[in-house]
Amino acid sequence: MSKQIIVPFGPQHPVLPEPIHLDLVLEDEKVVDVIPSIGYIHRGFEKLVEKREFTEYVYVAERTCGICSFIHGATYCQGIEQIMKIEVPERAQYLRVIWSEFSRLHSHLLWLGLFADSFGFENLFMGAWKTRERVLDFMEETTGGRVIQGTSKIGGVRRDISSERLDRMVKDLDVLDREMKELTTIFLHDDSIRHRLRNVGTISREDAYHLGAVGPTARGSGVAVDLRKTGYGAYDRLNVPVVTDSCGDCLSRCTVRAKELFTSTDLIRQAARKIPDGPVDVKVTGAPDGEYFMRAEQPRGELVHYLKGNGTKFLVRSRIRTPTLTNIPPLIKMLAGCDLADVPVIVLSIDPCISCTER
C-alpha cells in the first residue's frame, strides 16, 4: 500500500464561490477517502423565527439563498398557507410557477457557466452567463429585483404580470430557447467536454437513492424524483416531465441540467397559456397553529421547510433542509476512488450552494 497523505481542499478554492472544506486522503494521485467540513459561515437564522413575526419571516426565508431565493420564499409561504388552510388565488399559484421556473433557468445557467469555468472553458462560461442575463432582466422587470425578488407573501404574491407582458415574455422565450440550444449543444456534444466529464465522479442509481441524493444529482443517476410531481402550487395542472440520465457521472448531471432548461421554458409557456384572471392575494388573519413539512423542487433538488407554530405571531420552529446538505454524503461516495485532478469538477457537479446549507 502506498503512503497516505491528506490534501486539504478548500475552504477557499477557485471553483468554490463559497467555503466548504474537504480533507482528501490520497494514495499517490487517487482519493481513497474524504472528510467534509462545513459550518464556516453558518448564519443560524432559523433562530430568527423567535423574533420576527411569521409574516416578516418571508424576507428572511428568501435570503437563505442568493440564487433560488424566490423558491425559498414561496416554499415558506406555502407551508404557512397549509397550516392556516389559506386558499391562495389560482392566478398567484401560476405566477409562483412562472417565477420559480425563471429561478431554475437562472440557477442552471449560472451553474453551466461555473462548470465550464471549472474545466477551463472560459468562453463557454461567458456565453452561459450572457444568456442568464436575459432571465435576470425578466426577473427585474416583473419583480423589481434581479436576485432577491420579494414578491412572495402569505396568501399569494405582491405583484401581478400584465397579459401584454406575459405575451411578450412567451415570445422572448423563443430567443432564449435558441441561445440555450446553441449553448447546450456545446456542453453535450463537444468532444473535449465529453472526454473530460464521461465516467468521472460516477455514482450508481442504488447509491444515489440510498445516500439521499436529490435533484439533478439523483436524476443524473436515473433516480426519477422531482417534487414538482407532487403537484404543489399550480404544478398539478401542468405537464411536468422528469428528466433523467443513467450513467451517474459528471456528464449525466450536466445533461440533466441542460435538458431541464427546456423543461422550464416549456412550463412557463404552459403556465402563461393557462393562467386565469383574478386576484393575486387574499387577506390573511390569525396566526399559524400547527406544523407542516413543505417540500418543493429547487434547482438543486428537494427542499424542505419544516414550520411549527403555536397560535402566536412567532413560530416555534423553522427548519430548512436544503438540497446541498443532503447531497454531501453522495459527493463523498463520488470522490472516493477518483483522481485528485478530477476533484474540482466532481465537487462542482453537485452544484453546491453553501449559503443554502449554512442557513
Partner: protein, 125 residues
C-alpha cells in the same frame, strides 16, 4: 393546490432502530432528521419518502437522553446527527462519522438549545 399527505407517528426512543429498519427494508429514502425544542424537551423528526409518500416518526426526549444513531441503516444520517448535536446538544450514540462538535462552528455552544428570544417593544426594528 394539491396537499401532500403527511403522516407523523410518535414513538419511544427504544423503538427508533426497529422503526427505521422497517423504512429501510421497505425501500424508503431518508429525507431529513430535524430537531425542535419544545419547552424543556426536544422533538426529533425522522422523515422518509418513497414514491412521493412522505412519512415521519418522532421521538420526544429530554436534553440528557442519548439517542442511537441510525447510520448503520442510513449511512447519510451522519450529516443530520452531527447537526443536531452541534446545534441542539443532542448526544447521538454510534455515529459512523462523528465530528465531535466541529461540523458547525458556532460562536455559542448548542445555540438552538438556548432559551427562546423574548421580543419586547424596543426590539422591533
Amino acid at each position: 393546490m394539491t396537499m401532500q399527505p403527511q403522516v407523523t407517528t410518535n414513538i419511544e426512543v427504544g423503538q427508533l432502530i426497529g422503526s427505521v429498519e422497517r423504512f429501510r427494508n421497505e425501500g424508503y429514502r431518508l429525507v431529513q432528521i430535524g430537531c425542535t425544542k419544545v419547552g424543556d424537551l426536544y422533538e426529533i423528526n425522522y422523515s422518509f419518502d418513497k414514491d412521493y409518500h412522505f412519512e415521519n416518526i418522532r421521538i420526544t426526549i429530554g436534553g440528557s437522553t442519548e439517542v442511537p444513531s441510525i447510520s448503520g441503516m442510513y449511512w447519510n444520517s451522519f450529516i443530520y446527527e452531527n447537526e443536531m448535536h452541534d446545534l441542539f446538544g443532542i448526544q447521538v450514540r454510534g455515529m459512523n462519522i462523528d465530528f465531535k462538535g466541529t461540523l458547525f462552528r458556532t460562536a455559542v455552544k448548542y445555540p438552538f438549545s438556548q432559551p427562546p428570544v423574548t421580543v419586547t417593544k424596543g426590539d422591533k426594528p
